[in-house]
Symmetry: C2
Subunit: 325 residues, 2 copies
């Protein structure tokens, strides 16, 4: 039985906080952040002690039309450099590459020439072989890598154990537990985290957690999995992210005991940059429709449409979920 | 070491859900609910399988002017009976009586003549002797009783153990752990719950939990303490309650596995009664100012003022909390 690592007063030096605001938040505004916004967030993250900042996806420009998305869907080197220069800070830069939606063999240069430090490979569980091919490619280019297995609440345990074993034999640095549907309770999340940790610790890898807030549990699940040894923690400013959003960075920074993390810069960023986004009508965050898809362990797409249509007929929505089981 | 009781698939027949919407929510609108609202909530709770409905406070009419508050600050027998008749349902009726703010010797009739089933006595830890006097008085009148020790995050452990021992020797039925400031993390809440449960189980009593949502942990803390044996669970429609509010009933009903609990009536109530309240400007729920008082383990009064003034200058608020330590 795996116990908790440390307690509520401990400084855990293995912990790494990753800001995913531009990447997961970009799903709420089609990646249309201004350079001013991204620069301010970069400076805020550096001041707050954040360890990694994810700038967005490096998506295929063959599959996706560059004119239909903001630049952070593609994360070109020059666009990141326009924000961070050569990144003269201790904070590392990450981008995400989705299996099947990324031209990884043509779109990445060696780490020695890139401003990027880490590539996070996102996949569904049946795509693990494809994900590992990408991980090895990025590893050979010199990048730190993660593998983020999405929608794990719908994977079966045998498949998951096989996937973790394959990742254990790969060169991936961090294996991510991803609660895509926000359906996990803390007891589920910690049980899964222990499964990931057991596999990861055998092969000297670390485990990360990426939460969604459908049942108002994103922060709770993050600190619960942390307590058992998960060390890479995703969060976003005001929880900005698809649907119900993610773990709020302000809650996480207020919780962590390492004095390198501080909250004040983030409060200022929220006042000056996040509140205007909300006022412009960009939508995310906990609401009943997301609670329902979370309780039903379902993709949030119907809840996102419900939100976009400004509907409030929760009873009809509930019935439509029953009909579509 | 006290283990978890049951698992995520268990039906725990000891669990009792208590709706505190009118009582804790009344702190947001000065108890000015219409009879139509309260009747609809009563019917909803009966249909949803809720075990207890708290109607409000029975506050002193000497200390508080009846014309300055809605009727649920006082919960007269005839006002409750106007809603529930003789309460021909399985759901029990509760009211709250605060130590020092209630004329309990003149304002309560014997249970045999009353529509009320349970009196919940709220106190701070130094008021335990006064609370026990009230508990014994209500017990002798024939009521079920609880003792709700508020602001436990600021009590010292020696005092708390003494209080629990005194309550163990009393006729109280349920001892409540109350996270008044919303400052507890799940690890704190479950550690405290274990302390309460050890004391309560010695004397055949049950333990309840009343959460506040300052750090978006009200639901998480409720189900965490539940998992270790807490059985009386407070919740409110849409989490309506002072400041950041309470555990949301809809999250709790969606979580509990006992088929007697169902969500649909509550969704309908929220659509038809709770959304209009919000539109009328009644304020409650998670926001950064409440997160900050929770992180600082402070009474939410400054955050409530900040909210009432529609302020958004979180940085100034943060600095004012630092100044007032």
């Amino acid at each position: 039985m795996m116990g908790r690592k440390g307690n509520l007063m401990s400084v855990r030096n293995d912990v790494k906080v990753l800001d995913a605001t531009i990447r997961d938040g970009g799903l709420c505004n089609n990646f249309a952040f201004t350079d001013d916004f991204v620069k301010a967030l970069y400076k805020t993250n550096v001041k707050s002690g954040v360890d990694y900042m994810e700038f967005g996806y490096r998506a295929s420009r063959v599959l996706f039309d560059e004119n239909s998305f903001g630049k952070w869907k593609f994360c070109k080197e020059e666009d990141i450099r326009a924000i961070v220069g050569d990144n003269p800070s201790d904070m590392k830069i990450a981008v995400m590459a989705d299996v099947g939606r990324c031209d990884f063999k043509t779109d990445f240069i060696p780490k020695s020439e890139s401003v990027i430090d880490m590539v996070r490979v996102a996949c569904y569980i049946h795509q693990i072989p494809a994900a590992i091919e990408m991980v090895e490619y990025f590893h050979d280019l010199g990048y730190e890598t993660t593998c983020n297995i999405m929608a794990v609440s719908q994977a079966n345990l045998n498949q998951l154990e096989e996937a973790l074993s394959m990742l254990g034999a790969s060169n991936v640095d961090v294996i991510y537990l991803v609660d895509s549907y926000g359906s996990l309770y803390p007891e589920n999340a910690s049980a899964l985290a222990k499964t990931y940790l057991e596999a990861a610790e055998k092969s000297g890898k670390q485990v990360g957690f990426h939460a969604h807030n459908n049942q108002n549990l994103a922060f709770a699940n993050t600190i619960e999995t942390l307590s058992y040894g998960v060390s890479f923690l995703d969060a976003t400013a005001q929880g900005m992210g698809r649907g119900a959003g993610n773990c709020a960075m302000e809650l996480l920074l207020g919780f962590l005991k390492n004095p390198k993390y501080n909250l004040y810069s983030l409060l200022s960023f929220i006042e000056n940059y996040m509140l205007p986004l909300k006022e412009q009508g960009v939508q995310w965050g906990y609401d009943l429709q997301y609670m329902l898809t979370g309780q039903f362990n379902r993709h949030p797409r119907e809840a996102i449409s419900f939100t976009a249509e400004h509907r409030k007929d929760y009873c009809e929505f509930y019935k439509s979920l029953l009909d579509n089981f």
